[in-house]
């Protein structure tokens, strides 16, 4: 790699952040130090670097002074990196020639007790930033061609619904289903809350729409055999089970995984499952309700009382399934109500640990208790005991709502409420796609709140309950959100990716394969150049994590934006000696005495202090007295509070606002 030209014309902006930084960090002195740095042609102090006026000034500076690199020493890059990259771009400078130095979170805020040392640290960080920008390179985003097609794995309600939206947005959709029919778990369900449509009706409606969309191809009895390629250009091989297996290769810009869940199967003997008669699971019970007419009959006996035992196999403090399946409380109560409607006068007992009928589903709970259902609360360490007793089942339970008394009751049927668990074959799919699996063995998204449907594999998305227990609405919500994300990526048929990835120096590389071994994303592959085997990086897959760079014995890999040159330059910059004159800060000395000298106060502070001389007042009262906006007074009061000039003096009569008083008055 040839030495790049060092930048000659660098601009540095040091932000006050309205006092947030300048109160502690000696920004004026830092500017003086920086202005003497090599290649720095502009160095400025600014009140708010992010302010519109300053952004305009920076653009003017870049253009007039022909700056080739800029550094802003301000807040965290999380806040304003993109702001200043945009400033650079608008001024005609490559945005990657911009470096942000964080002197607020890392200096003034973190070291407000030691302002001189905060300044010292800031000096090092800013110099490191200058060194870094002087070695930075102009980069363009990576452009990748994308197929306008999507493979959706799993034709349950989530996959079906997403396929319809993706197809309507003009994409080719390949919907892959393992079973003989689409519909998944929902197809077999009876009436569903809150629409009271049956599962079959829901699935039929979706199927009807799918049939009418020519750009959806549904493959049933098909399995994914192999997945290669990357975002924009995945190749998915599927095997269709026929008399003779048939393999088809599909090309897709993106993959949506909607493989769903399985229902927990109780262990033999768990609450008498399989070892006692008259113990069934909720699924079987639902089917019974659907199939029986006139009276509810199980094993030739009419059922007049049912006990539901909740959380079977779920929320285990010792077992694998630590989580709450969150849909089963509602399902059970709903089943109980459907039962009451069809077979009146059956008594229902609910043995629960906590009822989690969140949102509107709470209404079901209320309806059920109004219908006379009895709820008994047990704790995990004292599970109900189930045994057969004549032609009934006898349950013994320690009810927490009855003073933890041990109670027994005979019922005709025991229904075990089992929750959602990951599919037994979920690991196979995870391995094919390399999507991570969480401790609950469901698939993991990148961030549960901020990136809830994306996986760490670019272009692979999650929808529905393969990600964790979800009800139908939540499943469809997530798969539709994934559909929208997918469409946003592939609709332009090109994908732009950040260029911060690993780069291999083919001259130095001798292909030892170490980098390929450590790469978690399979982004490194072997190529032959000039008759020599070397490593190459798949730009679409590389995440720029940098794990390959230290393992390379020949130093042939660099992470763009974090090249050796840049990092070493930063270390040099940081390690350089800093000579700071102790700041002349009367107020600094005054801090310890608990006050600030009067001459430093803004006029407004003095007015506020005059008002407070009359006695404690709330901020709105002060604002009214001084005819100033309350926001302004709030801002100043908070600062005065910080400097121990004022202090809170209890809340006002209406419990609305805090009153403040002068500190030395107290």
């Amino acid at each position: 790699m040839e030495e790049k030209q060092e930048k000659k014309r660098i601009g540095v902006y040091i932000c006050h952040c309205g006092g947030n930084i300048s109160d502690y960090v000696d920004v004026e002195q830092l500017r003086d130090i920086v202005s003497n740095e090599k290649n720095v042609v502009i160095s400025k102090n600014v009140m708010f670097a992010c302010a519109d006026s300053n952004q305009k000034e920076m653009i003017k500076d870049i253009q007039e002074e022909q700056l080739d690199g800029i550094v802003v020493a301000s807040c965290s890059p999380k806040l304003h990196l993109h702001t200043f990259r945009n400033v650079a771009e608008r001024a005609g400078l490559n945005p990657y020639n911009y470096v942000q130095v964080n002197v607020r979170e890392q200096c003034s805020w973190a070291h407000s007790d030691h302002p001189d040392q905060a300044s010292y640290k800031a000096a090092g960080l800013i110099r490191a930033g200058i060194k870094r920008v002087s070695h930075s390179e102009a980069l363009e985003n990576i452009q990748i061609k994308a197929h306008k097609s999507v493979v959706i794995i799993g034709a349950g309600v989530s996959g079906m619904r997403a396929s319809i939206d993706l197809a309507r947005m003009g994409n080719q959709v390949f919907l892959i289903e393992k079973e003989a029919n689409a519909g998944g778990q929902i197809a077999g369900k009876g009436k569903l809350f809150p629409t009271e449509q049956t599962g079959k009706m829901v699935v039929d409606t979706l199927m009807d729409q799918i049939r009418r969309l020519p750009n959806i191809t549904l493959f049933t009895e098909a399995r994914v055999a192999k997945v290669t390629g990357s975002i924009g250009n995945f190749k998915v091989d599927i095997v269709i089970q026929k008399a003779q297996d048939e393999t088809i290769s599909l090309q897709a810009g993106s993959i949506l995984v909607t493989t769903g869940y399985e229902t927990y199967t109780p262990k033999e003997g768990e609450f008498g499952f399989q070892t006692s008669p008259r113990v069934i699971t909720l699924d079987v019970f639902d089917r019974m309700i659907r199939e029986c007419e006139g009276k509810l009959v199980y094993d030739k006996k009419q059922v007049s009382s049912v006990a539901f035992i909740y959380c079977v196999g779920m929320r285990q403090s010792k077992g694998d399934n630590k989580y709450c399946s969150r849909t089963c409380c509602t399902s059970t109560i709903h089943s109980s109500l459907v039962m009451h409607e069809k077979f009146p006068r059956i008594r229902a007992l609910h043995l629960y640990r906590d009822i989690r009928t969140y949102g509107k589903q709470e209404m079901l709970y209320e309806k059920s208790s109004k219908a006379g259902d009895i709820y008994l609360m047990f704790q995990e360490q004292h599970p109900p005991h189930v045994e057969s007793s004549g032609d009934q089942m006898k349950i013994t339970v320690k009810d927490h709502l009855t003073g933890k008394q041990e109670l027994d009751v005979k019922v005709d049927l025991v229904v075990l409420v089992t929750g959602m668990v990951p599919r037994t074959d979920s690991n196979q799919v995870a391995e094919l796609l390399k999507i991570p699996v969480g401790s609950d063995k469901f698939y993991n998204e990148i961030h549960p709140k901020l990136r809830p449907v994306e996986t760490v594999i670019n272009g692979v998305f999650l929808g529905g309950s393969c990600q964790g227990p979800k009800n139908i609405s939540e499943s469809v919500q997530s798969s539709l959100s994934a559909a929208a994300k997918i469409n946003a990526i592939i609709r332009k048929e090109t994908i732009e990716l950040e260029p911060i990835i690993a780069r291999i120096d083919a001259e130095k590389c001798t292909w030892c394969g170490k980098c390929q071994e450590v790469c978690e994303y399979d982004a490194i592959f072997q190529v032959e150049t000039n008759g020599k085997l070397v490593a190459a990086v798949n730009e679409a897959v590389c995440k720029g994590c940098g794990i390959c760079t230290p393992v390379c014995p020949y130093d042939a890999i660099d992470l763009i934006q974090y090249t050796n040159q840049e990092i070493e330059g930063m270390i040099d910059g940081f390690a350089q000696d800093v000579e700071l004159k102790a700041r002349e800060r009367e107020e600094g000395a005054a801090h310890e005495e608990g006050g600030v000298m009067m001459k430093d106060f803004p006029q407004l502070w003095r007015s506020i202090m005059d008002v407070l001389d009359e006695g404690p007042k709330t901020i709105p009262q002060i604002a009214l007295k001084l005819s100033q906006p309350a926001e302004l007074i709030t801002w100043h009061m908070m600062t005065m509070n910080k400097y121990f000039i004022v202090e809170p003096a209890g809340i006002d009569e209406n419990d609305e606002y805090y009153r403040y008083q002068l500190k030395n008055k107290a």
Binding site: S305, L349, E366, K370, L401, T402, L407, D408
Partner: protein, 371 residues
């Protein structure tokens, strides 16, 4: 180990508590109840026992009778389970259960039955009254059909059966209450102390007064003499006063004709007290002035109504006697007065009236434990 009875809540429903099983055991009722003590957990636990059908827990609970139905729990219940009226329904259930004939169950569960029974009974009592004056022409006409002895004996038998039912009911309750959670010897009050507590409670209604002391209570702004405890006090002492006056009359076998005779004065004052209380109580129920008066069972109306009619006709007769007015109207009034009074006594064990023996017994057990 206690065995649940899933059909029990249906049973309680028939005693007039509609929605108690919507309770989700939040405990607000217990928190707000001014009479809950230590770990009593009522009314919540009472509801729980009813939902689960733990009959024995209910029948052996003195707490049931410690409640004066102020209605604070009903006001605070977030599920509209109406714990206040549930407690009243449970008391009806307990009365019906302690009483051995099963008649009370029919009366409380079926309003038509209660009404028909009352009417038939008043007819029989009317007949019985004629047996006191067998030479009356109507009586002679009746005895053509029904021999005098049969009517008289039947009446006596009914009265004796009522008395026996009452005694058995009281014994049943005693059996249930004494079988459960008795305080250790050193925690017990002596019989004398218990009696002192009981006398204090009945004299002052100290516990009942606690009910109206909630700061935001409706009664907080009202004078003491219209508050529920005072109303109850006047009805109770008024009735007891009348009972005493009647007994005195009976002992001296000579109705006190002169107005200044002590038993006459006692009767007049007690009658006024009872009329005052019964009138206000009926008015409160009629106007549904608070939650606790908002839902009245037929048993409530009948009990208060009978007291009121008996009182009113009593005063009518007093005036009639004072003016020595011997008219048909007055004779009929006398008949009504006597029939109603006899029904009150006759149905004592089978009506809301029975609380007058059960509550003291519960209080007896309550005061037995040192507090």
């Amino acid at each position: 180990m206690k065995t649940m009875d899933l059909s029990f809540s249906e049973e309680i429903k028939r005693y007039g508590s509609e929605d108690f099983y919507t309770c989700y055991s939040c405990g607000n009722c217990t928190a707000v109840c001014s009479l809950t003590e230590k770990n009593a957990n009522f009314p919540r636990m009472m509801i729980r026992h009813g939902m689960l059908g733990l009959k024995d827990e209910i029948l052996s609970s003195k707490e049931l009778w410690l409640c004066y139905a102020c209605g604070d729990c009903t006001e605070t219940c977030p599920r509209q389970a109406d714990p206040g009226h549930y407690m009243a329904a449970l008391r009806r259930y307990a009365i019906a259960y302690y009483e051995p004939t099963g008649l009370t169950r029919l009366i409380f569960k079926s309003n038509p039955f209660a009404i028909v029974l009352t009417i038939i009974l008043s007819f029989i009592l009317g007949l019985f009254l004629f047996t006191l004056k067998p030479d009356h022409e109507v009586a002679r006409w009746i005895f053509k059909w029904l021999p005098f002895d049969v009517v008289h004996d039947m009446g006596m038998v009914i009265f004796i059966l009522t008395g026996i039912s009452m005694v058995i009911g009281l014994f049943n309750m005693f059996r249930h209450l004494s079988g459960k959670n008795q305080p250790a010897k050193e925690r017990r009050n002596s019989f004398f102390q218990i009696m002192r507590h009981l006398a204090d409670e009945f004299g002052t209604f100290r516990r009942y007064q606690k009910c109206d002391r909630e700061e935001e209570s409706f009664w907080q702004t009202k004078p003491w003499y219209v508050r529920p405890w005072a109303i109850h006090w006047t009805i109770m002492w008024g009735f007891l006063g009348l009972l005493a006056a009647t007994t005195l009359d009976f002992i001296f076998k000579d109705p006190a004709m002169k107005i200044w005779w002590p038993s006459r004065i006692l009767g007049t004052v007690a009658g006024l007290l009872m009329m005052y209380g019964a009138t206000l109580a009926l008015w409160y129920r009629f106007k549904r002035i608070t939650k606790s008066y908002s839902e009245s069972h037929l048993a409530d109306w009948m009990f208060l109504g009978f007291l009121w009619v008996a009182g009113l006709t009593g005063f009518w007769l007093e005036i009639a006697v004072a003016f020595d007015s011997d008219s048909v109207v007055n004779h009929v009034t006398f008949l009504i007065h006597t029939v109603i009074s006899m029904e009150l006594v006759l149905l004592f064990a089978f009506s809301k009236f029975a609380h007058a023996i059960y509550r003291p017994l519960a209080l007896f057990f309550y005061f037995r434990e040192k507090g």
